[in-house]
């Protein structure tokens, strides 16, 4: 029986090639989208799942309220992990990671003692031995407990070890960091590379043993630079432990330290502080609102969004199948009648139609899997991931087959019941026009399909506009034509002469030396300053950027009051140029001449620059001051004219003359700026991609439906033409109803799209406003695409010779 069903299904597919192609094509697109997104979700949810103790491991997150806003961070004082370990028996292990680039973590210039050239290596962090144990670091050489025992020892990951010490056990070998041969770093061990689904991606751990980054740093409670990981004993009550720990840390250590430092209402300032435990397996997906967390994280909201989009595309394809099957029911009605007369029961027929939809589903899964495999490299590129098809997993094939069964049944169940219901006495004489029945259901489903498509189109348009706004809006500095040379601290005392020589090059407009730049991965700080004469308690966090006198012109910042630093004023060493946000914060109309202080430093304000964005546009511009000084690892060069290639070659030649052993490492300010919004850009690409898929699937359905309707109405069109209807009249007749449906879907989807995208924009402190143009654009686009889809069929039907269509009757 089943073979019989399959045979008939195959013959039907062969006979109705267009419908089959549209069904299989639409399904395959939906399935490919689902597969890719399933891979993405599987990867995102697999983070840190290899650690056998993952249920007892936590990262500490501090949460504090400032001006009604909640801020979260993961940096804590150096002595805190030991204090918690001592104070609470629930804590089995406590360990720290310090990745602040100010103190030699993050990146280093590395060479073997016998090498001349430095190589810039990223991904270093300082760590305790206990951290290695908590994170279950797997060693290849050396012992986990011994490797970091000695001061100045390092654990390299396998790929870095292979790079410097190929084919050997490097334990005990030396490396020179940052051209400092007096302080060689000893390799204490080699660890396996972190798997791609680990929230940490460090390539080397440097020992914290005996380290003190300044006097008494290790016992100081007022500076926060350490991430803390805890392993708790099983069965610890997390909530009550969090409460106890917060009280302990605040009351016993932090408040006394602040009071000792001179802050009066220290206790009050910790009122809303809470330290909580973030489970290891949550770190990857639930850290999107933690500030200053330098590891790249996923975002659970993206996971949900993608899952929803994939499900919608598949749903659209299911709707196509349902609509086409019921619309074409007239073609199958006679067959149903004959089969029933020949003894087929309704169950036989339901089984037959379900087999048919299952066949479609399986064909679609084959095609869809092929599409997914082909599209995977592109998807990886766009999403910034390294996903691969899990061919070797035992569950893949059963999962695909299971998916095909579910989709086939889901899409086929309604048509099967609908078609098998026909009474033979109604169908055998061919006096049944079933195509127009069920019109309302079909219309609602078409409206549903197009509503989803329009929402996605609106989403795409809004994200695109916001991205354009970010890239092109007045950002307060000129990011174009600026070359950033990194690792320039290797120039040491030659920095000034390098700067002057480059400044003299004809291709160069200006040169500035400063580690602080308004793009990610450059230096930041934040200390409490206040206006002199006021209380420390009135203070605010201030970015304190060390720059030179060329900084403001090189970056094209705009002075709105006062003046820039100048060589002619030797008193400029204790002055500051501040941003408008600081002037606003002080609440003074004319801040020039006012003095700000942090207790030690007293800075007289000599100029105010207009606000420039130095963090993502998701955050407000905060107070910032610039002071003259030495901060020499990045040289920024503003190029004259458009010939970047020649400029680059000339500058590189100059660099070589100064530092023959260290290749020039450079980036461009505008690229670095764009990289700050990589997640928005990815979202834009992915949204665009899926919107196109959704529109394609919906239009496939519309195309087939239009074809079918035209076919159904052949006789009517013939009669109308004989009676004098024009081609234009017939065209209108055939397109009007479909366009009405698309219009209805616009009415439904525009408010939904507006609401959703308004929510999304709330993430940005600086954002576009949603105006009618975006919606008009999406509506017009959808209408045009829909009209284009149906007009082929409509025109074909409208210009057909009526004699032909009437004669066939």
């Amino acid at each position: 029986m089943f073979l019989h069903y399959l045979k008939v299904a195959f013959r039907n597919i062969r006979k109705q090639k267009m419908y089959a192609a549209i069904n299989v094509g639409g399904f395959a697109i939906g399935i490919a989208a689902c597969l890719l997104i399933a891979l993405f979700i599987q990867h995102e949810t697999s983070y840190d799942s290899a650690n056998p103790n993952r249920h007892h491991i936590f990262r500490l997150v501090g949460e504090a309220k400032q001006n009604g806003q909640v801020h979260s961070g993961i940096a804590f004082p150096a002595p805190m992990s030991k204090a918690i370990l001592n104070d609470f028996p629930e804590v089995e292990k406590a360990g720290r990671i310090m990745s602040n680039s100010l103190f030699g973590a993050a990146n280093n210039q590395v060479r073997r003692p016998d090498q001349q050239n430095n190589t810039y290596e990223q991904g270093f962090a300082f760590a305790d031995t206990s951290t290695l144990e908590i994170l279950d670091i797997k060693m290849i050489y050396g012992s986990r407990t011994e490797a970091l025992k000695q001061p100045f020892s390092v654990i390299l990951n396998k790929s870095m070890a292979d790079k410097y010490f190929p084919n050997q056990n490097p334990v005990g070998q030396r490396l020179i960091f940052n051209d400092n041969p007096r302080l060689p770093i000893i390799v204490g061990g080699v660890m396996e590379d972190f798997p791609t689904n680990s929230h940490l991606q460090y390539r080397g751990f440097i020992s914290l043993a005996g380290v003190s980054f300044w006097d008494n740093e290790q016992s100081q409670w007022t500076a926060s630079n350490y991430d803390i990981y805890l392993q708790l004993k099983p069965n610890t009550n997390i909530a009550s432990f969090e409460k106890k720990m917060t009280d302990d840390v605040v009351d016993k250590y932090m408040v006394p330290a602040m009071v000792a430092g001179g802050q009066k209402n220290a206790k009050e300032s910790f009122k809303d502080t809470r330290i909580y435990l973030q489970p290891l397996s949550d770190i990857h997906l639930y850290s999107y609102n933690i500030e200053q967390d330098d590891t790249r994280h996923g975002d659970i909201r993206f996971v949900y969004l993608f899952a929803a989009i994939a499900a919608f595309i598949l749903l659209l394809a299911c709707i196509n199948f349902l609509n086409l099957s019921t619309a074409r029911s007239a073609n199958r009605a006679k067959e149903v009648g004959v089969r029933k007369v020949m003894g087929g029961s309704r169950n036989n027929l339901i089984n037959q139609f379900l087999s048919e939809s299952l066949l479609y589903s399986f064909l679609s899964f084959l095609t869809g899997t092929a599409i997914a495999v082909l599209a995977l490299p592109l998807f990886n590129k766009v999403s910034g991931l390294y996903l691969s098809m899990p061919w070797k997993e035992w569950w893949l094939i059963p999962a695909l087959i299971g998916g095909a069964l579910v989709i086939g049944l889901l899409a086929g169940i309604y048509p099967a019941f609908y078609l098998s219901y026909f009474k033979p006495i109604n169908t055998l004489k061919g006096n049944l026009s079933l195509g127009s029945k069920n019109g309302r259901l079909r219309s609602s489903l078409v409206v549903f399909q197009f509503s989803i498509s329009v929402v996605l189109l609106i989403g795409t348009a809004v994200i695109y506009k916001q991205m354009q706004y970010i890239l092109n809006s007045k950002i307060g500095f000129d990011k174009d034509q600026v070359l950033m040379i990194e690792g320039a601290d290797a120039l040491k005392e030659q920095t000034t002469s390098f700067k002057n020589e480059v400044l003299n090059l004809p291709v160069v407009k200006n040169v500035s030396v400063s580690d602080f730049l308004p793009v990610n991965d450059t230096k930041r700080n934040g200390n409490t300053f206040w206006e002199e004469g006021k209380q420390q308690d009135d203070g605010f966090a201030l970015q304190h950027w060390v720059v030179d006198e060329n900084y403001i012109p090189t970056l094209g910042m705009k002075l709105i009051a006062g003046r820039n630093f100048s060589k002619d004023f030797h008193t400029d060493s204790s002055t500051a140029v501040v941003n408008k946000a600081l002037a606003d914060k002080l609440g003074i109309k004319d801040p020039i001449g006012k003095i700000i202080t942090n207790g030690g430093e007293h800075l007289r304000i000599i100029g105010v620059v207009d606000n420039f964005y130095f963090e993502s546009m998701k955050q407000q511009v905060t107070p910032l001051c610039m002071v003259l000084g030495n901060s020499n690892s990045i040289v920024s060069i503003k190029i004259k004219g458009a010939d970047m290639k020649t400029a680059l070659a000339t500058i590189e030649a100059k660099w070589k003359a100064f530092l023959p052993n260290q290749p020039m490492r450079y980036t461009f300010l505008d690229e670095r700026y764009a990289a700050m919004y990589i997640d928005v850009q990815r979202m834009q690409y992915i949204f665009t991609g899926f919107s196109i898929l959704a529109v394609v699937v919906a239009c496939l359905g519309l195309f087939a439906l239009a074809a079918f309707m035209a076919e159904q109405r052949t006789k009517e069109i013939g009669i109308r033409k004989v009676l004098g209807a024009s081609v234009a009249g017939v065209f209108t007749l055939l397109t009007k109803n479909f366009l009405k449906l698309v219009g209805l879907s616009l009415i439904i989807s525009i408010p939904v799209g507006w609401w959703l995208m308004n929510q999304w924009l709330q993430d940005f402190s600086y954002r576009i406003s949603l105006n009618w143009k975006i919606f008009a654009f999406a509506s017009l686009l959808m209408m045009t695409i829909a009209l284009f889809t149906i007009c082929f069929q409509a025109i074909k039907a409208a210009i057909a010779n009526p004699v032909k269509s009437l004669r066939t009757e």
Binding site: H4, V8, R11, K15, K340, V341, M342, G343, K429
Partner: protein
Amino acid sequence: MIKITDLEKYYRTEEVETIALNKLSIEVKEGEFVAVMGPSGCGKSTLLNILGLLDDPDGGSFVFNGIEVAGFNERKRADLRKKNIGFVFQSFNLIDELTVFENVELPLIYNNVKAADRKKRVEEVLDNLKIMHRRNHYPQQLSGGQQQRVAVARAVVNNPKLILADEPTGNLDSSNGNEVMQLLTELNEKGTTIVMVTHSEHDARYSHRIIRMLDGHSVTENILI
């Protein structure tokens, strides 16, 4: 074999009620060949649908093979139908996606006959009806006469007790039509009861008895043999 008494059937729309069968009483004995004639709209097709258990009467009694079947539900009727009745239609009603062999095989599949038996039976019937050489063709590759031959083959493959033929020659030219009538006569001679609706006096003359209908009831009966 068939005994209907005071059979009634109405068709209702919102405004009109049409009486299709009006207290019709007919009896058909086993082995008989009966032709039903009458003008369009006289209730012939309705009668055939009820006899074929495709439709349910609104009143009266219908005894098939000694069992009262009026009021049977769809499932019971379908069961009785597939075991006892074969159909031949004016428009052949072959399934386009199936070959000659597969079309004839269809009733056996629904009667859960084993594949080997099916093959034997289908081949036997195709052989008898001299369309064996067309077994792998599709309906649209055949002439009208050949198609109706296949339809007859399909109607008899399950050895039904009763064959219902609804204007079996209506779509055929006279020579093909005669051939089909010849076939039905041969089947009848082998013992199958046949009830045939027709407009053609010529075809009706192949039967034993002609029932003439008007406005839902039988007016006269001509007994030919």
